[in-house]
């Protein structure tokens, strides 16, 4: 295993943590190389390199402001990166035409932190909105079937004619997830899926993420700072710090790590250790 060196944004070598190599059969569908993104004079991502394999759940951990959300927004070109490349299905996102970008976005599901349900529409209309525009070949009966199926998969079949304002935070996240999966995406990008939810609902969302991967055969990037969510969903974990990959490995490797930053992130969140003392 070749050790990879990690530097901060100024380019100073900080630490060296071995990166696990991917299994030989793994096929990367997203490849990010030397990505840079800043806002004004403030660098957010600096020389970031990572990949996502097919049928894999990759969890990206990191403190607030470490550039996690910026990373996935660059992947769907909601934000334009300053330098570096992002290849999805072998094509560079930054060099795509509007038409190619549209075709790519059809294959990617994006779950926003806030849910981002259209609040002037009912849940049915929210799900119908991408469906009628992306799957134009479907009849109205097939559209209804797909909507019902997606809502059943997230356990919200009875809320179909409700407005988003009538739903709780967890239900809104699930409805948003249903809207994302209804168009059968190949890649799922989750932006803080459990933020602001109680532990029980967070567990439900984590279970749903795993279900979506199994049912729809998706590959996912899960941006979070919720360790429980990471434990429940991760095949592989990446930790970002100061806009760069700080450590890469399995969740067990992270938990056994002696590194101070990793420890501070994981050990603080040991549920009962504090009380047991």
């Amino acid at each position: 295993m070749e050790p990879s060196s990690y530097t901060n944004l100024q380019g100073r070598a900080e630490t060296e943590i071995p990166a696990p190599s991917s299994p030989p059969s793994a096929k990367p569908i997203i490849e990010v190389k030397n990505l840079y993104k800043g806002f004004g004079n403030i660098p957010v991502l600096g020389d970031l390199t990572l990949h996502l394999n097919e049928n894999e759940n990759l969890v990206v951990l990191g403190k607030s402001g470490s550039g996690k959300s910026v990373l996935i927004k660059c992947m769907v070109r909601l934000l334009m990166s300053d330098a570096g490349t992002i290849h999805i299905f072998g094509k560079n996102v930054n060099e795509m035409t509007d038409r190619e970008l549209g075709e790519l976005r059809v294959k990617i599901g994006f779950l926003f932190q806030s849910g981002a349900l259209y609040d002037s529409m009912t849940i049915r209309e929210n799900l119908e909105f991408p469906l009628v525009r992306i799957k134009k070949e479907l009849s109205s009966k097939e559209i209804d079937q797909k909507i019902e199926e997606a809502l059943e998969n997230v356990g919200l079949a009875d809320t179909i004619d409700k407005m988003p304002s009538e739903l709780s935070g967890g239900m809104r996240k699930r409805a948003s997830l249903a809207r994302t999966i209804v168009v059968d995406p190949l890649i799922m990008l989750y932006d803080e899926p459990t933020t602001g939810l109680d532990p029980v609902t967070s567990d439900e969302i984590s279970a749903l993420i795993n279900n979506v991967q199994k049912t729809y055969n998706t590959s996912s990037i899960i941006i979070t700072h919720d360790i429980e969510c990471a434990r429940a969903t991760a095949d592989r974990v990446i930790m970002l710090n100061k806009g760069r990959v700080y450590m890469e490995g399995t969740i067990d490797e992270f938990e056994q790590s002696e590194d101070e930053l990793i420890q501070s992130f994981f050990k603080i969140r040991q549920p009962s250790s504090h009380k047991a003392q």
Partner: protein, 282 residues
């Protein structure tokens, strides 16, 4: 033994040349930044205008959303426009009547009021009311959609938000505001008839005959044409301010407020140009 030392009064510290130079350069930088921001805003505004025009003439037209916006812009504004139209006519009549009585020209009252309502008062007052009602509504709605990432969600689901959010709103405002102006004109003349009957006695038919005989095609046509521009400006400014709002909740209020102010300025400027053009043509 302590020697007697002369006591010097502390003089106020004079600002050094260096400090003054720093202050001057800071002021210059601030002014340059303001100028930069102004030109950036103009550039952004023109880019948004170009994208709106491009999206308007694209293949896919969101007809259902356009009809929904027509309903919201037109139908939901009717009560306010009814009241405004009635009050304009009533007040104009009540205030003009005594002067016309003094000159013995009270029979000219219906024509005078109808003319001023159709040419100027109806279009401008209705447009300004719509700036507050429709422009601010669009600014706040799109602003809050931006803050809650709904516009981003639309974009990543491969839907052009310009086509779905901006084009139907701008077109709905462009088409509905002239209709609202005609409606306000009608209620203004009705209000004027009611005002004439407070102190006098004029039959409805006589009043309307006198009013409409004073209005010609050259009065009505330019007034209606300019309202299309009023509508387009109100819709466009509302959408622009909402769409380009910042990320915080504070920016929603700012977008709504700026929509009203900027749309009102546009209405007044368009009116000024329209008056000049009409004056040249007729």
């Amino acid at each position: 033994m302590k020697a007697n030392r002369p006591v010097f009064k502390k003089l106020p510290k004079l600002p050094s040349v260096k400090n003054q130079a720093i202050r001057l350069s800071e002021n210059a930088i601030k002014k340059t930044q303001n100028v930069n921001r102004f030109f950036l805003e103009i550039g952004e505004f023109n880019l948004f205008l170009w994208l709106t025009i491009k999206a308007t003439f694209s293949r896919h037209f969101e007809f259902r959303e356009f009809l929904r916006q027509c309903f919201l812009v037109g139908n939901k504004t009717l009560p306010l426009i009814t009241l405004t139209g009635l009050v304009i006519g009533l007040v104009l009549t009540i205030q003009s009547r005594p002067i016309l009585v003094d000159f013995g020209a009270v029979s000219k009252l219906p024509g005078m009021v109808a003319l001023s309502i159709v040419r100027e008062m109806g279009p401008v007052v209705t447009a300004l009311i719509c700036c507050g009602k429709i422009g601010s509504g669009m600014g706040a709605e799109l602003g809050s959609m931006k803050v809650t990432e709904q516009i981003d969600a639309m974009e990543v689901s491969s839907t052009n938000p310009m086509r779905f959010l901006v084009v139907p709103r701008v077109l709905a405002a462009t088409i509905m505001i002239p209709i609202l102006v005609l409606y306000a004109d009608a209620f203004g003349i009705l209000g004027s008839w009611a005002g004439s009957n407070i102190k006098g006695d004029v039959t409805f038919v006589l009043f309307m005959t006198q009013a409409f005989s004073a209005i010609g095609f050259s009065d009505l046509f330019p007034a209606i044409i300019k309202t299309f521009f009023f509508g387009a400006a109100i819709g466009f400014v509302g959408c622009y301010k909402g769409y380009t709002a910042g990320r915080g909740t504070e920016s929603v209020g700012k977008a709504a407020n700026q929509s009203v102010v900027l749309a009102s300025v546009f209405v007044i400027l368009i009116d000024l140009i329209a008056v000049q053009v009409t004056d040249m043509l007729y």
